[in-house]
Amino acid sequence: MADLGADLRAERGQILLIAAFAMAVTFVSLALVVNSAIFTENLASRGETSGSDDALVVRHEVQQSVGESIEYANTYNASSDATLTANVTDSVATIRNSVANQQASTGKIVAIEGPAGFNHGTRIRDNASAGGSNFTNASTGGTPREDWTVVSDVDRTRAFTMNLTDAPASDGFVVNLTADGSPSTWRMVVTRDTSPTEYTVTVHRQGTTVGSCTVGDSPEYVRIDLTRGLVGGQPCPHLRYGAGIDDEYDLHFNNSDAVTGNYSMIVDRDLSPTTPPVNLSGSRADDDPYVTHAIYAADVIYRYDGPDITYNTTVRVAPGEPR
């Protein structure tokens, strides 16, 4: 007869023991799995860790700063291309030091080199004193003409702004671009209604009207930023300078005796003030449009080194260039 007595009591319950042990192992592995799930949630909620947005923000800052230095050089000492180049190179060295110090304090290395290349252009300007003059050509071009070619064979224009008053009610002042290829024409017409005074800027493309923008409330003058698409300081969605034109174009003014004011633009063609084009003066003469040396664009090399990101590229700086 089997002895089920006290001697074997210690060996009873092995199955339960093994089962408990196996369940313990199962629970431990379940805990590991749940832990991984928690880590997954953590990984999923990780935001921008590498800092690529910061690389672009700093790049934009550099672009703005170099753009300001180009504008400064163009405005204050445009006696020769060499002077402009030297001034912008000096400014970029200053910007390099300040940006490097500022970014180093937040653990990033930002290096700016250059400018690696300059795109010399020309500023065409008519800034007659005492409220400006009409927009006719320079007297060196013979009898002042109301319809004239400002500049021909340009690829790009930037920072093209004008302040004007006295536009006619119909048959307004026209900024006209004509190119060899297709689409070949782009026109901006400025008209003024009286009582109340209201300026209207109408844009035509290939002979078709694109749209118009109006500045009301009887302004004394209207400021039009053609390359930034602003009329009276407000964005005008129809005003996209030279939209669609891909080839070199000529820039004409029509009915330019009907408006008074001043204008300025920088074109990417390097025209010499010593031998200016026929309709422009080589130096500032009171009411004539004139040309000066200008830097159209400069390339700087930008290097950004963050903990998890490296970004090296060339930044082209051309302030006020249409997109």
Partner: protein, 148 residues
Amino acid sequence: MNDRAVSSTLNYVLSLSIATLLVTGLLIAGGTFVEDRQREVIRSELSVVGQQVASDINRADRLLTAGRGDTRVVVDQSFPEQITGSGYGILLNPGDDELVLRSEAPEVRVEIHVETNQTLVESHADGGVVTVRNATTAPHDRLVIENG
């Protein structure tokens, strides 16, 4: 007299087998449950890792698009070497514009769609630090993944 004490033996055997049956059932159910959870967690972790790599690819793509000329972009991000106890690999498949992530044991496969302006190059990385960079040889507007 031979059939004496049979009922207590039978009782003992029956109790043991029922207990064994119950315990085995419990262990099998528990094991399957843990395995299913593990598979699910690996699937969600692979897709999260894949989405993070895809967003790194998009970051590099954005930086390359914004760059001019000779541009160099390197974006690093660290991920676990193993997920839920399994190694895994990431394959950038330009044919279908997707990242294919595959774990080893248990084998789980997840596909994440990637859309870029730049060209993608077929490349592979394992867990750990995953680097997204543009190609070092021309043309430079191609994106590859590798282990950093």
